[in-house]
């Protein structure tokens, strides 16, 4: 087919492509600004998660994000790591329904979830999730921070990044303008509004506060072992500093025999 294309047709095709590029160009011309870096309690060598922020973040996830986003790799039992007691986790799990079975009649059934169950997502499968979200798939949030360049800074920037579209940029229906989303057209409506959550610890639920807490919780969801990793790292470094010193002294002493 391409071989049969006449010169004229090819020229026309090239022109059409140029035109198409020219119309698409403004959307891509607006570069995504660099992600502003936030202060995180888990930053740096001695950083650890702030348990209060984790619990507030879980509250945001539970009351806002979980309407669309699953946390595929999290189990109820994992929540003891963010400061809930075993009894609290058990009670929380029991408020969800989990699929179980088959029973001795061969039928599947629903039962209250147990701490050993994965936290159920909002949709039974990808197709259902897309159907309910205008064709877009809300990503798994238990891997979101690991799966995005910038991690928690990206999550925070997106949650605070909703802006009116610049003049001349048309936002298609079902899309929203977000400064930090690649291409700026995000299918997620602005999820947070002031007071969307009433924090159990009395913290004022501003949008930046909720975004910060949610990003902290999602970082934990992606990297649940960060605390123990940082602590073990400090011990390993202490051990290695001593080892380096001993080996250096021994090396000097042994080589002094022939120098």
């Amino acid at each position: 087919m391409p071989l049969e294309m006449s010169r004229l047709v090819r020229l026309a095709a090239a022109l059409a492509m140029l035109l198409a590029l020219a119309t698409v160009a403004p959307t891509y011309a607006q570069e995504t600004p660099p992600l502003p870096h936030q202060q995180w309690s888990f930053d740096g060598v001695f950083g650890t998660y702030d348990p209060a922020a984790l619990q507030r973040g879980f509250q945001v996830y539970k009351q806002v994000c979980s309407a669309c986003h699953p946390v595929t790799h999290l189990y109820f039992r994992d929540l003891t790591a963010i400061g809930y007691t075993a009894a609290e986790v058990k009670a929380l799990a029991a408020t969800y329904q989990c699929a179980a079975g088959p029973n001795d009649k061969g039928q599947m059934y629903q039962r209250p979830c147990l701490p050993a169950d994965p936290i159920p997502g909002p949709f039974p499968n990808e197709e259902a999730a897309r159907a309910a979200n205008g064709g877009a798939l809300p990503p798994d949030q238990s891997m979101l921070v690991a799966a995005r360049e910038g991690g928690p800074d990206y999550v925070y920037a997106i949650l605070n990044g909703y802006k009116p579209a610049p003049s001349g940029v048309e936002v298609p229906s079902g899309k929203y303008y977000n400064e930090y989303f690649p291409g700026h057209m995000i299918a997620m409506p602005p999820p947070l509004s002031a007071g969307a959550v009433t924090y159990a610890d009395g913290t004022k639920a501003t949008v930046p506060q909720m975004a910060h807490d949610a990003a902290t919780f999602l970082t934990w969801a992606s990297h649940p072992n960060l605390d123990s990793r940082h602590i073990m790292g400090a011990k390993v470094f202490l051990f290695l500093f001593v080892t380096v010193g001993i080996f250096y002294a021994a090396k000097r002493k042994i080589w002094s025999r022939i120098h």
């Binding site: 994992d78 990793r229 790292g233 290695l240 500093f241 080892t243 380096v244 042994i254």
Partner: protein, 420 residues
């Protein structure tokens, strides 16, 4: 158990050694082994690479106990390792970052060999075995990267295996054969897992050959001259055991920094998304240690030529000993090569940078210049400089300048090396 009087252990060793000279060989090759007394810290990287190979195998075996090589479960099983297995995150991060450390060490080891002419007569075969190890490492690392079955795993596997399709006639059948199907899928993952477990043991075997070849003539040294007598060498133990241990402890600081404080710095966030054959990631970039080769591949618009050039960039290393016409090993005594060496380093680093960026504008130009230089360096400069350069006079022996400093001769010197 019954035999408890002192000397029993020694007698058992002697009994075995008489029949299988295991300890005697170890003692000869690791303890008394005469080693040039002037080795610099650049000579630490051989033993470091060997240690990393062991670390990779040990952490890998533990990971294999928990990993499931099926396209349905691979991604989740890695998350199971990261979240639920005791110290699974430690094993996985040590393995993942260990691969980067292993390559960094081996690349330094190779450049050290290039600078000091370690590939020259009589160590040509030692060098070639090293290139075989490099090739095996690349294959192993590539297949290992596919195992977590993330987006980048899947698409890297697709892109790299597709390179073979550039070959005329046999290309496509080869790719289908590699995949075990008509795309990268479950059979591909299974076979890559099997081979990823097998190849490291092949590497161990070639490393042993590498060591046997090394011990035939002993290490090269910064002066690049042969040992002239016992005053030029020291026994490997304790001099180089302690020097290697000191180097190892410093290296472990760097390794530990990545494992504990920046475990995902060298990785790609895309690989935290499960493999999706229906969605190509915005950019497919290989791991950093493959970037220079990736840049060479992309420097040519024709796919077949790119693939052939990529292959040539590694296989050219096999014939280095014959491309270099200079009889002098160490760059210290080669006034021209000494500088030209750094041009190669710059070219390779530039290729790495080019490989990490989308091929547009200046990136393409730099990539082409660096690719051209890479081959020009080996094919033209190597033979030419060797012919034209006037090397500086070589010292008479290793021991002379050192002993001139005033010191007693060695108490425990190695036997003089036989001359070939």
């Amino acid at each position: 158990m019954a035999e408890t009087r002192p000397g029993a252990g020694r007698r058992i060793i002697r009994w075995i050694d008489y029949r299988l000279p295991f300890m005697a060989t170890l003692e000869h090759e690791l303890y008394d082994y005469p080693t040039p007394r002037n080795l610099s810290y650049w000579w630490n990287f051989g033993s470091l690479a060997g240690i990393m190979l062991v670390v990779m195998i040990v952490t890998g075996v533990f990971l294999a106990m928990q990993y499931t090589p099926s396209s349905e479960q691979a991604f989740d099983s890695v998350q199971h390792i990261m979240r639920d297995v005791n110290y699974g995150w430690l094993m996985r991060y040590a393995h993942e970052n260990g691969a980067s450390m292993f390559f960094a060490i081996v690349y330094i080891h190779i450049f050290r060999g290039l600078y000091y002419g370690s590939y020259k007569q009589p160590r040509e075969f030692l060098w070639m075995l090293g290139v075989v190890i490099l090739l095996l490492m690349m294959a192993t690392a590539f297949m290992g990267y596919v195992l977590p079955w993330g987006q980048m795993s899947y698409w890297a596997a697709t892109v790299i295996t597709n390179l073979f399709s550039a070959l005329p006639l046999i290309g496509h059948p080869i790719v289908t054969f590699l995949w075990g199907g008509y795309n990268v899928g479950d059979p591909t993952l299974h076979r890559f897992y099997a081979l990823h477990y097998l190849l490291p043991f092949v590497i161990v075997f070639v490393v042993l050959l590498h060591l046997v070849a090394l011990h035939r003539f002993g290490s090269n040294n910064p002066l690049g001259i042969d040992l002239k007598g016992p005053q030029d060498s020291v026994p490997f133990h304790p001099y180089y055991t302690i020097k290697d241990l000191f180097g190892l402890s410093v290296f472990l600081l760097i390794y530990a920094f990545f494992v504990f404080y920046a475990p995902n710095f060298l990785g790609d966030p895309q690989n935290a998304i499960p493999a999706n054959p229906m969605q190509t990631p915005p950019e497919i970039t290989p791991e950093w240690y493959f970037l220079p080769f990736y840049a060479i591949l992309r420097s040519i618009p024709s796919k077949l030529s790119g693939v052939l050039l990529l292959a040539a960039s590694i296989f050219i290393l096999f014939v280095l000993p014959w491309l270099d016409t200079s009889p002098v090993r160490s760059a210290r005594f080669r006034p021209v090569y000494k500088w030209v060496f750094w041009l190669l380093v710059i070219a390779v680093v530039a290729l790495g940078w080019v490989g990490a960026h989308p091929p547009e504008g200046i990136v393409i130009t730099i990539g082409r210049i660096a690719t051209f230089y890479y081959f020009f360096h080996f094919l033209v400069l190597f033979p030419l400089i060797g012919k034209l350069e006037r090397p500086r006079p070589l010292p008479a022996s290793i021991g002379t300048p050192v002993l001139a400093g005033g010191s007693s001769p060695l108490g425990r010197a190695g036997a003089p090396l036989e001359k070939p």
